[in-house]
């Protein structure tokens, strides 16, 4: 087993990596761009007294332009952070704490990433009120419900662009227009969306947008928060104590990581149209293969309004633990990576109406830049074989096959 190779080299690698929503391998072009900044151009970008510092600063500023270009924003609005978790914390707590004296209500959605929900819960403990909107069975929110939730005290709406588990794309442009018309700041966690679907902070009226490096074939340990400058959004720094990044984020800006994020954004934006249709075809192939091999398969989340590389399916009459233990040839996730160490059903799947049992028996498959058709075929064959075997062993499946309706059966007490 050659766990760890990042997509270079021939042959079929096993296990097949289909967990690109958890993290992506760094693109070799990104790594190549970064390496000189560790050893050769190693300066501190804040050093103003010598060429080492200026060179580092130039590299950081180029990266800032590359990041901004990927979202149609002003480079001056890009604040480098340690990742999307920090960006989301900064956006939500930062705006709330800065404006909290006048407006103290936040609207978000139950299927947001944990770090958005945790930031909101933190603010609730500080006396803010938060509305957590439900989603429809498709995973998409209801715009009318969002509009109805807005009040004169609402300072911020935070809705993710693409969900990390079920890949559904929320109506960001519509939410942006609504928020702008009501004078409410709009933040979107775009960690899963940047470089994968077209985003334009101006056209979509996005005030704050979170970016992650390692979800777009860039390095871990870097992200960015886009903070609109016109009209200006003000926020309270979370990592404070220095004047770097316009005072929004203290600490030495890590030049090689910024270079990596910039290059990752450049490549993703450049290759997006071709890559999106390639991934869409592979995802359709994966789904068709699974559907052909496994009857009674449920697709979680809207299939149309969805990231091209994401598929999330549930297998009825299969026990979740056996499913994950049985799938050894394909690296997939049964929930989001951050929660998958806990044995709790995915709150995203629960929110779109799955019961705990079915949520456990779900797989999230994230296809990526280095996923090949052969890998998809291998994954289909393996998953189908595992699910079939588990169902053969399942008395519930046998009863279902024999036409016994379990939901309406009356079970005798023993």
């Amino acid at each position: 087993m050659s766990v760890g190779e990042n997509g270079k080299g021939g042959g079929l690698r096993r296990p097949v990596y289909l967990d690109n929503q958890a993290t992506t391998p760094a693109d070799p072009r990104v790594v190549d761009a970064m390496l000189p900044y560790f050893t050769e151009h190693f300066g501190n970008p804040h050093s103003r007294s010598h060429a080492y510092g200026w060179q580092a600063e130039e590299a950081v500023e180029l990266a800032r332009e590359q990041v901004a270009a990927a979202i149609g924003g002003d480079p001056k609005g890009v604040v480098f952070t340690s990742g999307a978790t920090e960006s989301n914390n900064l956006a939500i707590k930062g705006v709330a704490q800065f404006h909290g004296a006048r407006k103290n209500h936040i609207v978000t959605v139950v299927t947001e990433h944990k770090c958005v929900l945790e930031s909101c819960r933190y603010l609730e403990r500080q006396g803010f009120s938060v509305t957590y909107l439900p989603v429809r069975p498709s995973g998409l929110l209801n715009l009318a419900e969002l509009e109805a939730a807005l009040t004169e005290r609402t300072v911020l709406v935070s809705v993710m662009a693409a969900n990390n588990e079920i890949g559904v794309l929320q109506p960001i442009a519509e939410i942006g227009a609504l928020c702008r018309s009501r004078g409410i700041f709009f933040h979107t966690d775009a960690a899963q969306a940047v470089g994968k679907i077209p985003l334009d902070v101006n056209a979509m009226n996005i005030d704050l947008l979170s970016i992650s490096g390692h979800k777009i074939y860039g390095p871990k340990g870097i992200g960015a928060l886009y903070v609109r400058r016109r009209p200006r959004i003000r926020l309270q720094a979370q990592v404070s104590g220095g004047e770097q990044e316009r005072g929004y984020r203290a600490g030495t800006v890590a030049t090689p990581l910024c270079v990596g994020l910039g290059e990752a954004c450049r490549i993703a934006a450049l290759e997006m149209p071709a890559e999106a249709s390639r991934l869409g075809r592979l995802r359709d192939r994966l789904l068709a293969g699974l559907q052909a091999g496994v009857p009674d398969l449920r697709v979680n989340g809207d299939l149309e309004r969805r990231l091209p590389g994401n598929l999330n399916v549930s297998f009825g009459y299969v026990e979740g633990e056996g499913l994950i233990a049985g799938i050894t040839e394909v690296a997939v996730s049964s929930g989001s990576a951050c929660t998958s160490a806990q044995v709790e059903p995915s709150y995203v799947l629960r929110a779109i109406g799955l019961d705990a049992e079915l949520a456990y028996a779900s797989l999230r498959m994230g296809l990526g830049r280095f996923t090949t058709e052969d890998e998809i075929d291998l994954a289909v064959a393996h998953i189908v074989a595992v699910v079939r075997r588990l169902r053969e062993e399942s008395p519930l499946w046998q009863m279902y096959r024999e036409g016994i309706d379990l939901k309406s059966s009356q079970w005798a007490e023993h």
Binding site: M1, V3, G4, N6, P15, Y17, D19, A22, T23, P25, A26, V31, L35, F38, T39, H41, F42, N44, H46, S47, R48, S49, H50, A51, Y52, G53, Q55, T81, S82, G83, T85, E86, N88, N89, H113, K114, C115, E118, P219, K220, G221, Q236, Q238, V239, S240, G241, G242, E243, Q244, A250, G251, T252, A254, L257, A331, V332, S336, A337, C338, S340
Partner: protein, 385 residues
């Protein structure tokens, strides 16, 4: 260009050591989120836990107390904001990340330092005796501008006697002094990788008691035992651990750097007997020299040295964007001399020839001071930036 320039600004950042760069490059080619349960994820998790053990071992602290952060600034911010103490006493010479951390609803007071840049322990004692309010004392192990080493163990004993906690910013000391968290008596301590030959973008906060309460700065997936959320920077962490191992292997480095630094100071004093070395009477880091050539502003000196192919700093990198007198030298009572202070800092790749080049260029500065016409001509020549 930079390649021909001699780098003597190691306290700002360091070139990444080859072993660390190698570890980073290798880890960059790994796939896997350390929180994923599949093989890729478990392999990533193992690397992080190995690095955690290495850091803990190096510091004489429990592995469970090691919290990986995005750097020294975040580690300091987390320690100060998360400790739950309403009163925060910080020395007047702390790094801006400690001095200026936003602490809503907390009371922050400054502990003065003496003329050598050493914290005034009797002042600390008096401040603590003044109130029963639960306090945190923040004292750096070594100052980034002067290199002056602080009596952290003594301060910790005083703090504990008054029921206070002690946080130690060891960012600048790490790699230059041996650090033992237990011997220092610090309740928490922060490090940054890029100050010791590791990569930028990674640091740690170490808790002496892994179960000590700490309110997280960043909430989310609950990584780092719920104290710091966010996917771990695996390549950075691997590079940090590799750099620490290199530091351990080169224990005599400090001796060599001290010899180089002392030779540098001796030589420039012969060229300019009136040169001031800040903190010279106090214990100092072996690599740092903070100097003032009276009558020549730091800006002029730094520019002239840059033209001569020598990279140094006029103060700490974080504040060098602004032309303001150093808060450290001001707290030491340096007065107008602070405007002439430059910082020369050596590191793992420094060699004898670097010191010789610096001394030679410093001789040029002294001549320039004697003939102001040269100075203005040089300033005019300095068209870049």
């Amino acid at each position: 260009m930079a390649a021909a320039t001699i780098y003597l600004d190691y306290n700002a950042t360091t070139p990444v050591r080859p072993v660390a760069a190698d570890a980073v490059a290798r880890a960059l080619c790994l796939v896997g989120n350390p929180s994923s349960v599949h093989g890729f994820g478990r392999q990533a998790r193992r690397r992080i836990e190995d690095a955690r053990e290495a850091v803990a071992d190096w510091l004489g602290a429990p592995a469970a107390g090691v919290i990986f952060t995005s750097g020294g600034t975040e580690a300091n911010a987390l320690a100060l904001a998360g400790c739950g103490r309403s009163r925060v006493l910080v020395s007047a010479i702390e790094h801006p990340s400690v001095l200026n951390a936003v602490l809503p609803g907390r009371r922050r007071e400054l502990i003065p330092v003496d003329g050598d840049g050493v914290v005034d322990l009797s002042a600390l004692e008096a401040l603590l005796a003044d109130s029963d309010e639960p306090a945190l004392v923040a004292l750096m192990l070594a100052n980034n501008e002067t290199g002056v080493v602080q009596p952290v163990a003594a301060a910790a004993a005083i703090a504990h006697a008054h029921g206070a906690l002690l946080h130690c910013d060891a960012v600048q000391a790490a790699g230059k002094l041996a650090i033992d968290v237990a011997a220092l008596g610090a309740d928490s301590l922060s490090l940054s990788a890029h100050k010791l030959g590791g990569p930028q973008g990674v640091g740690v906060l170490v808790l002496a008691d892994p179960d000590a309460p700490l309110e997280p700065l960043l909430g989310g997936g609950g990584q780092e035992r719920r104290r710091r959320s966010g996917t771990e920077n695996l390549p950075g962490i691997a590079g940090f651990a590799a750099a620490l191992e290199a530091v351990r292997d080169e224990a005599p480095m400090a001796v060599r750097l001290r010899e180089l630094r002392d030779r540098l100071e001796g030589a420039i004093k012969r060229v300019a007997p009136d040169v001031i070395v800040f903190g010279a009477q106090a214990p100092r880091l072996p690599n740092t020299s903070c100097l003032a050539l009276p009558g020549m502003t730091a800006q002029t000196a730094v520019m002239a040295l840059d033209l001569a192919g020598i990279a140094i700093s006029a103060g700490s990198a974080c504040s060098s964007g602004k032309v303001a007198p150093s808060h450290v030298l001001t707290a030491m009572g340096a007065g107008p001399l602070a405007a002439s202070a430059i910082r020369v800092s050596l590191g793992w790749a420094s060699v004898d020839a670097d010191v010789e080049r610096f001394v030679e260029a410093f001789g040029g500065l002294v001549r320039q001071r004697a003939d102001p016409g040269v100075a203005s001509a040089m300033t005019l020549a300095k068209g870049r930036r």
